[in-house]
């Protein structure tokens, strides 16, 4: 399942839901949470705005999730990405892979976030004290 939303998400609720609908299948759930950092490339970040390409974003995320499910045996997967204005420590992204086998869950989760970072049409703009700047692939992690 994929979701693009301005609202916050609750990692715990999402994980608990996965666990409850597991039906004894998965033995391993790996999750990645991406947070807004306060310091990026040496500068104090007071706010971050996430722009995206509505329509293409959802397609890109669905493709990434599908590719993960094609490559690894997953019992469940999830990608949630926020857009709009965010503050330091806010949740940005949540990626989860559940599998019978922990290696498969780790590989699939890492694949999804790595691919999302290079393929999904999101752009971060940081507000610094007195200025703004677009994040570039060189100044992101």
């Amino acid at each position: 399942m994929i979701r693009v939303q301005t609202d916050d998400f609750d990692a715990g609720t999402e994980l608990e839901q996965l666990r409850r609908s597991n039906n004894g299948q998965a033995g391993a759930i790996v999750s990645f949470t991406g947070l807004v950092r306060e310091l990026n490339a040496g500068e104090q970040v007071t706010q971050m705005t996430l722009e995206h390409y509505p329509g293409m974003t959802e397609k890109a995320l669905e493709k990434i999730e599908q590719a993960a499910n094609d490559q690894w045996e997953l019992t469940a997967s999830l990608i949630i990405h926020r857009v709009g204005p965010l503050a330091p420590d806010d949740n940005i992204v949540f990626v989860v892979a559940a599998s019978q086998h922990r290696e498969q869950a780790f590989r699939a989760c890492e694949y999804m976030i790595d691919t999302l970072k290079t393929r999904a049409p999101f752009w971060k703009k940081e507000t610094l004290p007195g200025s703004t700047r677009w994040v570039t692939p060189e100044t992101t992690v």
Binding site: Y53, M56, I92, W123
Partner: protein, 83 residues
């Protein structure tokens, strides 16, 4: 008609995010369309000359020589930085 979209820093540089236009005569591929847009003025010429830009047609990333047809949605944007 084609729908043209510009995102993030490119949108800010061009001062526009979304426009619709009749596909100009003789324009059937991405290089021709980009050149046609670059002819608008120096800002367009320089902004679209950036070879780090990605282009999506109908919301799928395409190669630099992709062909373009009436009804397409074409989007230019800088490297993505989500996640």
């Amino acid at each position: 008609m084609v729908r043209l979209r510009y995102f993030a820093s490119l949108r800010e540089t061009l001062g526009i995010g979304d426009e619709q236009l009749e596909l100009p005569d003789g324009v059937h591929d991405l290089p021709a369309l980009t050149r046609w847009l670059q002819d608008r003025d120096a800002t367009w010429a320089s902004a679209l000359a950036d070879n780090r830009l990605h282009v999506a047609i109908n919301q799928e990333i395409v190669k630099a020589d992709a062909s373009i047809a009436d009804g397409d949605e074409v989007a230019w944007f800088p490297p993505v930085t989500g996640g």
